[in-house]
Subunit: 192 residues, 2 copies
């Protein structure tokens, strides 16, 4: 039993716990699922590999705990209707540059079925609802959202994962100027 430190006082292990999570995110983002070994993650966090197991149960458990993705998408009803495309692109660029979880989930999703399922979940639970806010016809929402996902994930893939030189070199503003109208059209333009 022992409710020794039940409520608010921070346990000493919380530090290691977050250290492991940080190292895991970094490795998953850099190497993908298979090559990001528990041993390497543990070494980065300066603890023993067995600690990872004790805290997270298994490698899958660690991945699940390390990569919890909240896109924090804006409420598009508060954005001028002709600005939603640019707003989304801007938001995604910021998001992607701020945290490496997105790169991690994209890299892992490309080779690992569990990772792919994670991405499908994010699409379903986070992007679809937002698309629903601005799409004219509810029936077309999934298709339109998928088109946006294709464009935005394609950008992330070429720029942050594959690192195609021209994609890396393009300045933010220019990306927004090019992709904004595309996303805008996918979301709001009449079916072609």
């Amino acid at each position: 039993m022992t409710s020794s430190v039940p409520t608010s006082r921070s346990r000493r292990s919380d530090a290691t716990r977050t250290a492991i999570l940080a190292a895991a995110r970094e490795r998953f983002a850099a190497d993908g699922y298979e090559r990001a070994t528990i041993r390497a993650i543990a070494k980065d966090a300066r603890i023993d590999p067995s600690m990872v197991m004790r805290y997270f149960g298994s490698k899958e458990g660690l991945f699940a705990a390390a990569v919890t993705l909240d896109l924090r998408l804006p409420d598009l009803r508060e954005v001028p209707r002709e600005e939603v495309g640019r707003a989304l692109v801007t938001h995604f660029l910021t998001l992607w540059e701020e945290n490496e979880e997105l790169t991690a989930v994209l890299r892992v999703g490309a080779t690992n079925e569990a990772g792919a399922e994670r991405l499908r979940g994010i699409f379903r639970d986070q992007l679809l609802p937002v698309a629903r806010q601005v799409c004219p016809d509810p029936e077309q929402v999934p298709a339109r959202a998928a088109l946006c996902a294709a464009q935005l994930l394609g950008l992330a893939l070429t720029r942050y994962v594959l690192r195609l030189p021209p994609a890396v070199g393009l300045p933010r503003a220019e990306l927004v100027a090019w992709l904004g109208p595309t996303v805008q059209r996918y979301l709001t333009a009449p079916h072609p």
Copy 2:
């Protein structure tokens, strides 16, 4: 020495060689680089793993031999100028559905540096020259080609790798209708 069968007569080993390559392409496309094991590939080809080594030297050698990608892009100068976007999208969709090498190189490129370099090479040697045929300003060619790559690879990623349900469900014609104008704009529209 021995020029026993030097010229045209097909050696018996060619059959196994191509069997290995076919199995390798399939596994790389389905599993990515790390999880596509030589042992599994050899089993698919119904031979011993050591044969793979004899023929291709190493796993990297096998990958290099199995995935040689020719996009067979059309000569855009023979396509009506306002049709190049739709033509490219159509071409890519066909290409992707016909052979699994593209899925393989995309999956591998996402987690493996050698795979990523392979993709950068394809972009540089095959997509850039074609973009040069239709872009107005030569200086803008790399950026415009990169935008196209982002859109087209994003489609492939969501449809053939991640298998987002709405992206899988969209019929070819509709994809061409949506993405065609996007690619067209990236290639030929004036800089926004």
